[in-house]
Symmetry: D3
Subunit: 240 residues, 6 copies
């Protein structure tokens, strides 16, 4: 639904949302049932940053960043702006000036389904950004879109107020009403993984630590000689 | 036009060209009317470098870097080599050895529409490169192309002697005769942005700073409850 | 051939294999006749690391990392795990936990034709990885594939026991029986390049250093004025 | 939500849904406010077919078509199966055998976010298919997904029972409760376009027919000579 | 240069331009020195059509087709509209209504660097189109671009009045002043190819017909047994 | 291994190879254990053709089709030429003239990992082609490659003399020594599928026909109301 600004979207609990950054995207994604990942095309422009916050969603027209300017006025502390375009675009809709505005309102970062620019300045000022493209291409400020309606980025629906967690691996969205459950499940997963990590570091078999041997019934362990006999090619090849 | 080397291409004024690096790609691109950007597929192999210079153009056959060797002899201090292939190729046409030659001639950097290799060495020696691909794939040195003819990279025509500015966001080309105007317009834009930045950092609305409120006439500000009523879905969703 | 684990694949000579890392991918690729490069889509998740080792190959079902767990048990010191899927997948099949297991067995690194996650943790623990994708997307552990059969990554066949060399430029595979020859040819190439580098740094022409002038017979050296006459456009253009 | 089959999803009104095929994707997409398009990567495997129906949604694991077999049992006359995978896959999850089953249940067609095969047979039997990939690659039938939960294809959320319209241009989804409104708006649009078409065919200006002249205030009409003067390049160029 | 309409661009000779369609894209491309091809991403929406005409160029804002409506008024008999966007877009900027207008003005076809829709109707009405995308996605009519300025599609600069030839293989642009030469060279090439075709159809060796044997000096003709000895793998392999 | 022509590669049994075309790519691919598929990027330029034959392999330099001319002399009746380049290229290496030569030698078709042109003429003369690209871009005939060495296309190794089967779905390679087994397994699969098809056409459940019910133990069948309760969103949504 275009041409609307929702002024009072409910937000995920901020205290719980803040805890997601302790766990990171891979853990949270697993904890909520392997859901919510925005896909490998949304990449960070900085390295080593992990944040979480509540989604302030922005839907722009391609080649037009008017709604990002409007979104600034709707921003609340702890938000992460999640912006995209009504059809695919790689243009640089976002740069250092809007980041300055958002930082002044204590917004935690940006997730962009189109493109951003001023990446050196963004790194310097410490405003974290995840984006589908880095592009110098400038935009107009002409056509209205929407703010705080559900948007789709990387095949995931993000609703305003959903929790966002982002790090070097990418971005995950946790539905607003599931954040507390996600935090609890993440904590449980981390505890379990810590035990596994100790065993694995000590050299225990990964198959034993994860109890996977039963799944290998169909496998045959054979020698290289047997393989050569069956496949007719052996392993001595020189490549092509 | 293949199989020619233009020996005396006119070059943009070097003093003016040098100033473009102070402004960077986004500012220069805006200053000349949102033109000249080589697109998001041309990426730097280093981080934090911003240069400008005059284009020394090179057109190679795919899988063949013969003309890059020839280009070395045509290089002048302050040039940036802009090389590409007659049809799409990702092969590593350029590496540390040719960079050594170019550095010895005070060439400022390379923009490559195909591929480069030796990226660790290039970073170590401080020779800046922007490229469409990083590729180990080696090439022959057999078929003649052209040097200092107009070439197309990322949908932009670059003529020998045009000014090139490149940084973490990508590469922009400024036509040779427009460089002084581009510098003046960039300076004006920076001054204007500095004023805007101060207001935005102080928390002024982006809509007011840029005078955008008139463009929002068609927008409706509605509550989440009203949105739920109209859309039939509300914002309480759990995601998919 | 699926559902087999080859338990005793012959390996390239470890001492010779270890020397490949001194030369790096570009030199080794050239030394063996411009072969063995896994292509520009396999990229490192860290910067400044160069390793070599013997391939431990893993073939997984898309969306399923069961065989990576099994591969841990087959790992030997000096191996590099080379894993891919039976059809294209970008999912995160590999992360910090399996890396912990492999590091405990002195495995040198991972080359992945699908995706990895936990990249921040992998960089922190110093386990080097080259991959086609970074992806948070989790996988099941259900369907058997194969370990130590020939696999294809980036258009190259990698057989278990082949030598792998990887650095910032990408990954190259050297057939098992050609490693000693590859080391010798790499050493010869480096010696030759060192001589060339000295001449090039001193400003000698690249055409003379590489003896290329004979190949330029078809080239014409013309003036910009002559080019303008022939092409009808000249070089004064303002761009588009 | 995985591992569930919703057995009684509400469906859009079948009579109204059937009318969408009379209008086609472009008209319906415009009629509902330029929404619902599944993007240019979902293409038909046949030419000249236009259908509409209600979505029976299927979520498969990559490389696994188990849930498509289950979906057959849930199929009702007038459904269009909309299937995709939990992470990106191009594998051929669907072919002539499942099509035979669906045709026997009067299903109108298939929309596939992964891949299909047997395209010659599908064309021959007249079962229409839109797909992201054509791929011979076979799949297992091992891991459970979900049937009739919301899925995302081409950046659009499709809920079971939503209306689908598909033709040579692609696929559009109309939310279940908006179908009657979409039909009415499509009819109105067609009537208006028919009037425009008559005027345009008679040679009337497109600017007048659509009332666009007011938007062209900023345009300058200039001669080629004036363009040459301003741009410094003219239009006489010979190309590169 | 945006926001201008050039009203009197010079056009290539129409009689000569018309002859290009007799030769087709491959022949004309070779005849002018392997130049002018708009690349493999511009594909026809119909099969078996070959046209030529003079370029009427249109530059639109992404997601906005306002300038296509204006272009109708500038169209002259024998033109081919060549349209693209200022930054990458796949949206459907063109459809059956604008085609009706262009057909009424005897325009020969459309080449589109963004997207088109109504492909079934376009085929039915016999209006030929080549395009980078087929997309249902609708556009606004808000922001001015330019008409009859040079544009870039597929890496080629097309100036208004240049000759365009298009067929099942794609699109080639011939600079305005080179059309007569291109026709003559195409005719010569066709004559030469006809002679070659007769010899080849009679079974003569392609190497003799094209005089290529001298270029094969470096080749060795070896037996499969010799290959097996040298490569260590032979040709008996079973594949992977 | 470059610069060699293997003159006497062993070929798969021609009578058995000929039978593969009766079964088509999907059946053969399944019959040999889901192997040998050249991937979704290799597409036919015609519709409705299914062929099989023995591979005559050709390795060209990018932008250079010299070896295709040489391959003509090595062609034998029943061969299918499988050609690719040493690094990625989309150029049109193959067209109607070489097809004329191959047809004169009773070659059955072409599989191309780079590009082809003259597609209208190829369809007209009935010479079937599968290719990664259609491209007008012409090539030189300068640099030697290899004929009848193993090549890689679409991630598959094809050795000279292997059997190739190709149809509307793509291309599958069967190792030379496995052809008779592939024919037998294909016949068995077709017989089994025919029985399944009859049951499915009669309306039997796909789950019963394939015996899949046991695999669905983890699935829950729930109502839409129960889904709404669990997910918090229901299925009434209006989409975004």
């Amino acid at each position: 639904m275009l041409n609307v600004v929702i002024t009072d979207p409910p937000r995920a609990d901020l205290a719980e949302t803040g805890k997601l950054a302790e766990y990171g995207t891979a853990t949270v994604h697993e904890a909520i049932g392997r859901r919510g990942y925005l896909g490998p095309s949304i990449r960070p422009v900085q390295q080593g940053t992990r944040i979480s916050g509540t989604a302030l969603t922005v839907l722009c027209w391609p080649g037009d960043n008017l709604m990002l300017h409007l979104a600034v006025d709707q921003a609340r502390e702890g938000d992460i702006v999640v912006a995209t375009t009504t059809s695919p675009s790689s243009d640089g809709l976002f740069g250092e000036l809007i980041a300055t505005s958002l930082a002044a309102r204590e917004v935690a970062g940006l997730v962009m389904g189109a493109g951003v620019r001023d990446t050196a300045e963004l790194r310097e000022m410490g405003f974290p950004v995840w984006t589908a493209s880095v592009s110098v291409q400038g935009t107009v400020k002409e056509t209205a879109g929407a703010v705080n309606v559900p948007v789709t980025v990387g095949g995931q629906v993000i609703r305003p107020g959903d929790a966002i967690v982002a790090d070097d691996d990418g971005v995950v969205c946790v539905p607003r009403l599931e954040v507390a459950a996600a935090v609890a499940a993440s904590a449980a997963r981390v505890a379990k993984e810590e035990a596994a990590r100790r065993r694995l570091a000590a050299g225990d078999s990964s198959l034993d630590v994860h109890g996977l041997r039963a799944k290998l019934a169909s496998l045959e362990y054979i020698t290289a000689a047997e393989y050569a006999r069956r496949s007719g090619e052996g392993l001595q090849g020189a490549g092509s």
